[in-house]
Symmetry: C2
Subunit: 319 residues, 2 copies
DNA sequence: TTGTACGCGTTATCAA
DNA sequence: TTGATAACGCGTACAA
């Protein structure tokens, strides 16, 4: 009987049709809960976000990523369960609970950290996962990676081509892999261009942090002529700090962001930034995770690299 | 046996202790799935967001609201299942599916619309809900409402007190209840102050929409001296449009936003805006929904009203 | 190829 | 107050 409904072989065509018709006539729907109990599957995947709530609101990544993931999840009748935790300890509990309760069949691992302990944790509790980006520790999980380095490298190269020689960086927290990667890409490109690495200040991806870092950068004796920010939010705050000091952007200072948020194109001047496809990332990550759950190994997948979007916040340095 | 574990009455203290000890010793954990099947509960609540993905990323509301809701959900061992749908039709399917599959025990109803059909739908499929704001149609669901009118009214009154007489409004879509409410509050306050209602342009809460509306407003023969925007994103774009035309803010044009996003305080000039507590809203909404699901009726609850935050984007009009 | 009976791990009911 | 037993509804192994 269930063979017929699940479209499995070993059933006569006529019988199958008869059963399907009866099911439809009765308005019968398979019970998700019974299926879950019987097959010990949750038919759901999880995403735990561990960021301070005030920072969550400003980040354009999660909403887009989630929308992308949802786009494939709905088709497969899978639900997305969300978890928001304030700090690191709560985070581990969160994953353990999700697994112990059988709430999800797998999770997305975002905001990868340096020497991320979650990888070992998930392997230990055998909760399938997909990592967003390639971890720096051994991992048996498939990774869906977007090359952020080339985007940052393109931004720095763009500034170098314009004639800048003192190019600073306002980075994200160093314990985040993407924070570290972007920073490394900035430094590497500078060195490759034969330029001395400029100053790098670590901020926290917030507007307040971006403003603070910018002030510190501008307060030095020989301030940079260009600043590469690790996200648009900090770049926007940096732009305001420059204006507040009467520093013309891009005339006296060039700045670049990262994310290409919707507002970036509508700032004054419009922001030169690096675009990543969070929506597409979500789609591919969801497909990869679902395949993994279904027992199909799944190799790492490489997404199109982040693209530099040149707008008007960059120009040759003042003579 | 389960009585003991669930802490229900009708069990001898000693027996309960004995059972609890045995359970711990065996490392036994109640099976979420079996409980769900047996009690026909999902132990989860739902939130469906029906916005175009590109708009989702810029909105600070959902992340904060979700974080707030999560704060109370975790304590009650309830999960949050998220759904993102592109349009109106998909939306109805989404709710029906959630209910039919028994994926959730109730939902949050956000982005209330004029004559919102979802209320009747949810009542029909008897899926408990909590509305964010008070609907304009009959509803049996508890509403958790934040008074947005007084925030907008305060913003308009602030501008009037500064001496402005031509105060325009860039509204959100008219079919959204909050869009309509903010617009009505703006108009009402103007009329009450004995001023002719200024121009009102309807945009879509996006930066692009805000920029377009601002250009149109500034292109008229007698442009406004102040613009009240329905959200920070549009106000930020409006600010850029003013700069692009060499119009000084706040010297020649005052602007106000709505949301008090993190970036608002870090723009140049810092944005005068209206603050709502989305995190708190999420907490209260979750509590109300959970109570409703538990069979406790629950009356409408009124949250603290939105507050005007005066910063530097507002000043007396040019003489 | 088809029908049947049992297991999944709870909650709920009913005797004892 | 306690213990045994029947649902809950689907997957599946096994017998017909």
């Amino acid at each position: 009987m269930s063979f017929a409904l699940n479209g499995r072989p070993g059933v006569a065509e006529e019988t199958r049709a008869r059963i399907l018709a009866a099911a439809r006539a009765l308005g019968w729907t398979p019970s998700h809960r019974a299926r879950a109990l019987s097959s010990s599957r949750a038919f759901a995947v999880g995403l735990v976000m561990s960021r301070p709530p005030e920072l969550l609101g400003a980040d354009p990544f999660f909403p887009s990523f989630i929308a992308g993931a949802e786009a494939v999840l709905v088709d497969r009748q899978e639900a997305l369960v969300l978890q928001v935790v304030p700090g690191r300890e709560a985070e581990e509990d969160s994953y353990r609970r999700l697994a112990a309760d059988g709430r999800v069949d797998g999770v997305f691992l975002t905001d990868l950290r340096v020497d991320d302990p979650r990888i070992a944790l998930l392997e230990q509790i055998s909760l399938p996962a997909v990592t967003l980006g390639r971890p720096d520790v051994d991992s048996t999980f498939p990774a869906v990676v977007v090359d952020e380095r080339s985007g940052i490298a393109a931004a720095v190269a763009h500034l170098v081509a314009l004639g800048h020689e003192r190019i600073a960086h306002v980075a994200g927290p160093a314990h985040f892999l993407h924070g570290a990667t972007r920073r490394a890409a900035w430094e590497r490109t500078l060195v490759d261009a034969g330029l001395p690495p400029g100053r790098c200040l670590v901020a926290d991806f917030s507007a307040a942090g971006g403003a603070r870092a910018t002030r510190e950068l501008l307060d030095t004796g020989e301030p940079p002529t260009a600043i590469v920010y690790a996200n648009d939010l900090m770049a926007t705050a940096g732009l305001a700090v420059a204006m507040e000091r009467g520093i013309d952007v891009p005339g006296q200072l060039s700045i670049t962001g990262f994310d290409d948020t919707e507002i970036a194109a509508h700032l004054r001047p419009p922001l030169t930034t690096v675009r990543t496809d969070a929506f597409g990332w979500g789609k591919v990550a969801a497909r990869t995770l679902l395949d993994l759950i279904d027992g199909k190994p799944g190799a790492d997948v490489e997404m199109p690299p982040a693209q530099l979007v040149v707008r008007a916040s960059t120009a040759p340095p003042a003579p």
